[in-house]
Assembly symmetry: C2
Homo-oligomer: 266 residues x 2
């Protein structure tokens, strides 16, 4: 059987890592498109035999798989401008966009649609081990789902079939566990910097905390700290200390109340 | 030179790991005390030649170093009941208690005081590599500080001299970076569980987020997510989704505002 060839639309961080993983797994990238031509050239040069498509006309393309790795805002507009060859599959790689939004913006009846969402944060400068990146698959029908799951499994050990509603919930949960966590690290570093203390000192504790939380049956089971102990003396002291940092103080109070509420509900 | 012998007062998680690290570094534990005798026996049995002291009379002890590894609430009361041998050094291992609080509760003029605070979270069931645990030292005078730094360096690569005020700031920062982070993981898992989605799916993303945050010059430099992009459409969608979870919703709003405020201040 001839390998399915793929085209990548968009040349950002996801495209950068995903295209290489696909090629390594036996899905050659034959065409690349980016609004910024230089990015398309740069990406195509990393592939074995990819050419740059100057526009969105893929009607004569050898590719049967189209990965839309573009920003959410631009997704529908770009998708509606692509000319696909017959019997191709087009997927987006977004955590927030539904399958339906893609389906409605593709103007070809013969095109199959799907979602191929790698649940990871990518930077061009940092190598990613794709085999540990969960891939969330959704498809317009079972046959396409089967193909996408197979592709997913060829690049990652962790492949889930997740519908659009579930993917939206995953995204909310990821905002708590990742984006907000990162912000707490930033606030913590600010607090230390004001007193010329090094954030370095906290790093072993942070690693251990994360390791424990992710090993536990539930992170709540390994919760520690003044709020969990209901140590009102320390809590008051710390709220007092944050007097000149009202933003951090409000966050301290709210998260402390939330930990206490869970403790009392146990 | 004969090795300095040590006694451990308290037999909890810190005692469990610290006593072994001290022995391995050449500071034999000769005596152990715990309010719960069985715990003292259990700890003493892990040591090469430790005996259990049934009370707090150490006036005839060979130990010259006393580690008080007991809960903050009980620290002063226990310290005030100990009979020390002459020229000994007593340290507590608490992040929140000041050196002065210890000094005032020790009723012996010839006893030196200090703090030996390992900035890590300990569980008996999980082995800790003490060489990567930051040790925060404080002492009543330079000579004692020198001795404690030397002991610290014999068990860890990371030893800092940190006064009581600085230690208090460290503690506040640790609450943000560790206790609150753990709680966000718990909220995240709750959100997924309601929809029968596995927390497992987020773990690779969490690891990558933490790795990036701790490698960056400042975690704020690698902040991602809807708040950082000021993607009001997704923010509103997500706040809406949390309608039936007012606690998580309020936390979402506050942390989103805080990330936005930092973005605008940049």
């Amino acid at each position: 059987m001839k390998p399915i060839k793929a085209a990548i639309i968009g040349a950002g961080n996801v495209a950068w890592h995903l295209s290489q993983a696909l090629e390594n797994a036996g899905y050659p990238i034959c065409e690349v498109y980016s609004r910024t031509a230089a990015h398309a050239v740069e990406l195509a040069e990393r592939m074995y035999g990819a050419t740059v498509n100057p526009d969105l006309d893929f009607s004569e393309s050898e590719a049967r798989l189209f990965f839309l790795t573009i920003k959410d805002d631009a997704l529908e507009q770009v998708a509606s401008q692509i000319s696909f060859p017959p019997d191709s599959i087009v997927v987006h790689t977004s955590g927030s966009k539904s399958l339906e939004e893609l389906r409605q913006s593709v103007f070809f009846d013969t095109v199959n649609t799907g979602v191929f969402y790698p649940l990871q944060t990518f930077s061009k400068s940092k190598k990613v081990d794709f085999s540990t990146v969960p891939i969330c698959i959704e498809a317009c029908n079972e046959e396409v789902e089967h193909i996408l799951v197979e592709i997913g499994q060829s690049i990652s050990q962790i492949v889930y079939v997740v519908n659009s509603d579930e993917r939206r919930v995953l995204h909310v949960a990821a905002v708590f566990a990742c984006n907000f966590t990162n912000h707490l690290f930033a606030l913590s570093k600010d607090i230390l910097e004001k007193e010329n203390l090094e954030f370095e000192l906290l790093k072993p504790l942070i690693w251990e905390t994360v390791e424990k939380a992710l090993q536990a049956d539930h992170p709540a089971n390994v919760q520690t700290g003044p709020a969990k102990r209901n140590d009102q003396k320390i809590i008051d002291q710390q709220i007092n200390y944050l007097e000149n940092n009202p933003e951090a103080q409000t966050i301290y109070q709210l998260l402390t109340e939330s930990i206490l509420a869970r403790k009392l509900a146990e």
